[in-house]
């Protein structure tokens, strides 16, 4: 899924009281700026057990057409749970900007 970055709304455009009337609107919310490090998956070590996919609290792990696990960085907050839960230690957390 591709994150659609929406332009920030002005105060006149926001529904009264900040109410959200459409379901599933969190797909529009890019959390890139929250992250200080990001998961890098070594596809050679990956056994495709799917633990990272199950554990990720933000559903940022996706499976591509070839069946490989990939991180959608738009939704990854860099918590590192995927790396902790990876049995073959195929995921390493790499500091951003290094």
């Amino acid at each position: 899924m591709k994150c659609v970055k929406t332009t920030l709304k002005g105060w006149r455009e926001i529904p009264e009281g900040g109410t959200i009337m459409e379901p599933g609107s969190s797909v529009n919310f890019d959390v890139t700026a929250w992250r200080t490090s990001s998961p890098v998956i070594d596809q050679n070590k990956c056994t495709k057990c799917g633990m990272c996919f199950l554990y990720c609290p933000d559903s940022a792990i996706e499976i591509d057409d070839a069946g490989n696990y990939r991180v959608n960085l738009s939704y990854c907050k860099g918590c590192g749970i995927c790396a902790k839960g990876c049995a073959p230690k195929a995921i390493t957390m790499v500091k951003e900007g290094h």
Binding site: L8, K9, W11, I14, E16, G17, G18, T19, I20, M21
Partner: protein, 388 residues
């Protein structure tokens, strides 16, 4: 054609809430609660009012329940006082931020310590930045009328409204009150479902996170709403007058024609202030008094125009801002007058804390000190009636 009854200020508010046909009332029934909600529980119990009545475990829960019920589009009410209002503090900001048109009666009493349940304005003043409209009444009749108006103001501005009434002096005083026919009240405030409310039919998320990218804009919405409520309140006062024949406005001026010095007061002490102004006028002193009925939004324009040509103004605070330059009402007035071309000298007073009576002599002291401030300039705040 209505009827005239002898009831307390508390009961006047309860009758207004009953006639407003509220859907839900939440309250915590222990000191410092008042007989407002006791009377309402009676109305619900004997079938005179078809509403859901929730006895909750604290004032924090009472206002939380009101926010939840209001979000479903229900017309809701709660009453509190003193420590009860203080306990509601954090939820008061949520009520205005979520734009829930809650009406709350607050019977003004002091805050502890020392423990004191007598009348002053400490409770409401401590909540003045919560984004609520604040109306202040001076009699049981005004308590009734203002509560009726409060429902209309709240629902048309989508903001919560606090109706403030002096503890004991008004709340427990029995006075003649004109109660209009319930039908007339319903015509003035018809129950109508509010839009964009929680329902089982549509997806809806409220109480959402406002990250740094959005908090500012969401907060500004509520600031803009309370600014715009000024016009709405004027309109509703006019409509109330045409329907019920009683005229209310943001401020009330008394004896201001040709006055040199004036006091500014809030709440029930307006009566004594007028009486002492009369005696002083008979003695040849040119004094007047202004009473504020609206505190939020603050009626700065109205005050500025009422004070044109006045040499000195004395502001009577019944609450304090310890360590501040002035006290709550003084500071508001000072800010409102600052950009006047020729502004009056401003003398601050504190009086009537924790239920201490403000006597006629105290008013004389304040009028005289204000007059002398016109000649010699004002000093720091005078604590009237304080024992050395």
């Amino acid at each position: 054609m209505g009827r005239r009854v002898g009831i307390s200020g508390n009961y006047a508010v309860a009758y207004a809430v009953k006639m407003a046909d509220v859907d839900m009332i939440a309250a915590y029934p222990i000191t410092p609660q008042t007989t407002i909600v006791e009377k309402l529980s009676e109305f619900v119990a004997n079938g005179e009012l078809d509403a859901s009545y929730m006895n909750v475990e604290s004032e924090h829960s009472a206002i939380s329940a009101c926010v939840g019920a209001s979000l479903t589009g229900a017309r809701v009410f709660t009453a509190t006082s003193s420590q009860g209002l203080a306990l509601m503090h954090e939820i008061l900001f949520m009520a205005s931020g979520l734009r829930t048109p809650i009406v709350m009666a607050n019977v003004n009493r002091a805050l502890s310590a020392p423990l004191n349940i007598w009348n002053d304005h400490s409770d409401a003043m401590a909540q003045r930045d919560a984004g609520w409209i604040q109306l202040w009444v001076r009699s049981a009749q005004e308590g009734f009328d203002t509560t009726i108006e409060a429902f209309k103001i709240a629902e048309e501005t989508r903001l919560p409204v606090m109706v403030n009434m002096d503890g004991y002096i008004v709340s427990h005083m029995y006075e003649p009150v004109e109660l209009p026919d319930e039908e007339e009240v319903r015509k003035f405030i018809p129950s109508k479902p509010l839009e964009n409310r929680v329902s089982t039919k549509t997806a809806y998320a409220t109480g959402v996170v406002g990250p740094p990218e959005y908090y500012y804009e969401m907060k500004y919405q509520a600031i803009d709403a309370i600014e715009k409520s000024r016009l709405k309140i004027k309109e509703i006062d006019r409509e109330f007058n045409s329907r019920f024949g009683r005229n209310y406005s943001e401020i009330e001026a008394y004896g201001m024609d040709g006055a040199d010095a004036a006091l500014i007061v809030m709440g029930s002490i307006f009566g004594s202030a007028k009486e002492v102004a009369n005696s002083l006028r008979e003695e040849g002193k040119k004094v007047g008094v202004i009473s504020l009925r609206l505190f939020r939004p603050f009626p700065a324009e109205e005050i500025r125009s009422a004070l044109k040509g006045i040499k000195a103004v004395g502001v009577v605070d019944r609450a304090t801002t310890p360590g501040g330059f002035g006290n709550p009402l003084y500071n508001e007035i000072a800010a409102a007058l600052y950009d006047m071309q020729e502004r009056p000298t401003l003398q601050g007073f504190v009086a009537g804390l924790g239920g201490r009576d403000i006597t006629q002599d105290d008013f004389r002291t304040m009028y005289n000190a204000t007059e002398s401030a016109a000649k010699k300039g004002a000093g720091r705040c005078i604590y009237v009636g304080l024992r050395e």
